[in-house]
């Protein structure tokens, strides 16, 4: 029930949008278009005499043939898949535990928010030092005072990638957990009561009531985490600088290097556009998976 708004109010309503529109246009939408435009040119900042030539899709062709770029794509996909799945699993465990009633629940909830509240740069330095070959806590936990076995985790391609994933899981699992917790709290207790009366044990109740009803929140946590994991940068910048041997050279870091270190504006912009398209297609895929139920719910609220 709303009274009709008059013409003037409607115009003013649109005026209210203006500041938002200007900011988003200049610092989001135009840059996206501009990235695409730049990716069609050959521009190398170090070689100004080369000029700025229109080369069409040549930059993209180069990228698809460049082993470093393909490696970067592969590393990013491995990172995204493993870390998001782990995060949702750990988050689910956290959510189920916190949903129980016990004394000091508020404190526990605040405690699990700490890794999330930490700036990523701080978490990165923390884990960089934790994985340190001599003074790190990881070696101490694994091998105790037996320093002969101490490993240089971040110097080995395989363990460096795992280290970065673990740091990400530590930092963001609680976020996934909170989203899942919100979904958990909407499940009515009566369902569990009924199942208990029917003789279902705790594991069966979890498997046949909790999990199916949590599907939307788990998907949502997965979406948020995936979008975020594609953007991973701080961890790599601080912990490994993309190394060793490009083992952790994720797309955002690769693009950053091309654009801002090597001055390869054309190629770098092509990387930017590719990342954009990648993230866009993944989000569309997820949205279809959720079946736009979330959006429909939104509409009834508006």
């Amino acid at each position: 029930m709303r009274t009709p708004y008059y013409g003037a109010d409607r115009v003013i309503g649109y005026l209210f949008f203006l500041p938002l529109l200007i900011v988003l246009l200049i610092f989001s939408f135009i840059p996206i278009a501009y990235s695409f435009f730049l990716s069609l040119y050959q521009i190398v900042l170090g070689l100004p005499r080369l000029g700025e030539n229109f080369v069409g899709l040549a930059n993209y062709e180069k990228l698809l043939e460049d082993p470093a770029a393909l490696n970067s794509l592969e590393v990013t996909i491995i990172f995204v898949c493993f870390s998001t799945v782990l995060e949702v699993c750990v988050g689910l465990l956290m959510a189920v535990a916190i949903n129980e009633s016990f004394r000091g629940r508020g404190m526990v909830r605040a405690a699990i928010l700490i890794p999330w509240a930490l700036p990523t740069v701080v978490a990165s330095q923390l884990w960089r030092f934790a994985f340190n070959d001599q003074y790190g806590i990881v070696n101490y936990v694994c091998f105790g005072p037996d320093i002969a076995h101490y490993k240089a985790w971040l110097a080995d391609p395989f363990s460096a990638l795992i280290a970065i994933m673990l740091a990400d899981v530590w930092k963001t699992s609680s976020f996934a957990g909170l989203i899942i917790l919100a979904g958990l709290q909407t499940i009515p207790d009566e369902l569990y009561e009924a199942a208990r009366v029917d003789g279902a044990n705790a594991f069966q109740r979890f498997l046949f009531i909790t999990l199916p009803l949590l599907k939307p929140s788990i998907l949502l946590a997965l979406i948020f985490r995936t979008m975020d994991a594609f953007r991973v940068f701080d961890l790599v910048f601080v912990m490994t600088q993309g190394g060793p041997a490009d083992a952790t050279n994720v797309l955002q870091f690769y693009g950053y290097k091309k654009l801002f270190d090597e001055g390869m504006v054309g190629i770098g912009s092509a990387v930017s556009v590719m990342v954009f398209i990648l993230v866009l297609s993944v989000s569309i895929f997820y949205l279809n998976l959720v079946g736009t139920t979330l959006l429909k719910k939104k509409e009834t609220l508006l």
Binding site: R2, A117, F233
Partner: protein, 276 residues
């Protein structure tokens, strides 16, 4: 009933593990700030400092300019939050309360802008700022931050505004109040929790942001805490104690926010997402 007892035991153990997992790594790292350089580089490492030393903290403040980074962070995050909430409130109101065409499309577009990977806009944003000669200025960082934080702010606020009852608004309209008056005097006071939630989330985002701060603030006079912490220079070895001291300063406000406003933060993070 052993089942019940066993259940409590498993729950207790799980919760202990979760708390340990969440708190212990940062606690260990924070303790570095109280250790002397000698203790930090002890092999094998010691967890607790044997002698409390303030050398790392004083070096972070006096040698590495920690307070300057802090000032920049407070300014950038503070101003961005204030402007973001104001602009977001203005935009969310018509989205939630006025009959506007293509409402859903507009909201989706705004949300989409929030999902852009930073790298896909970084190059052009840098070029635009360079053209304006705004690299290494506060507004040069605040404006991109606004673009990054406004989508979620508008989303949270339009949810909040949409749930307010319409009667007061109707009454004010009949009394001849303008749209702007209705927004300031009726909607915003009623939606204070939502505005507050959006503000906290914006502040945390800006306080933690690293990528754009790294690109835009290349001069140390203007760098924010995350950039400072990431680029802490080491002469022979990394100054871990100083990094830990700076990390504590950076993290304290956030831990306080998380402890005192956890309900708001959680409701903001899950804004409308899982609401039935």
């Amino acid at each position: 009933m052993t089942g019940r007892k066993g259940h409590r035991l498993i729950l207790g153990a799980t919760i202990a593990c979760i708390v340990l997992f969440s708190v212990a790594p940062f606690a260990w790292f924070a303790l570095l700030a109280l250790k002397s350089h000698l203790e930090i580089t002890a092999v094998p490492p010691a967890i607790f400092p044997r002698h409390i030393s303030l050398e790392a903290i004083s070096a972070a403040v006096f040698k590495y300019g920690l307070l300057r980074f802090l000032k920049n962070s407070v300014l950038v995050a503070g101003i961005t939050t204030a402007v973001c909430v104001a602009v977001g409130t203005l935009a969310a109101y018509p989205l939630a309360r006025l009959p506007i065409k293509f409402k859903r499309t507009i909201l989706l577009l705004i949300l989409a802008a929030g999902m852009f990977p930073q790298i896909s806009i970084a190059g052009p944003v840098w070029r635009i700022l360079r053209a304006l000669d705004w690299l290494n200025t506060y507004q040069g960082l605040i404006l991109p931050y606004l673009a990054l934080t406004l989508p979620i702010t508008v989303w949270i606020l339009s949810n909040f505004f949409g749930e307010l009852p319409g009667e007061l608004e109707e009454a004010a309209k009949i009394d001849g109040a303008s749209l702007f008056q209705i927004l300031c005097k009726i909607i915003v006071p009623l939606a204070v929790p939502g505005v507050f939630t959006a503000g906290i989330l914006t502040f945390i985002y800006c306080w933690n942001e690293f990528f754009f701060a790294l690109l835009i603030m290349t001069r140390s006079d203007f760098q924010t805490l995350p950039v400072g912490i990431a680029l802490f220079p080491g002469e022979y070895t990394m100054p871990w104690g100083e990094i830990a001291a700076a990390s504590i300063v950076t993290t304290m406000p956030l831990i306080l926010l998380a402890v005192f406003f956890q309900k708001r933060i959680i409701s903001g993070l899950t804004a409308g997402a899982v609401r039935g």
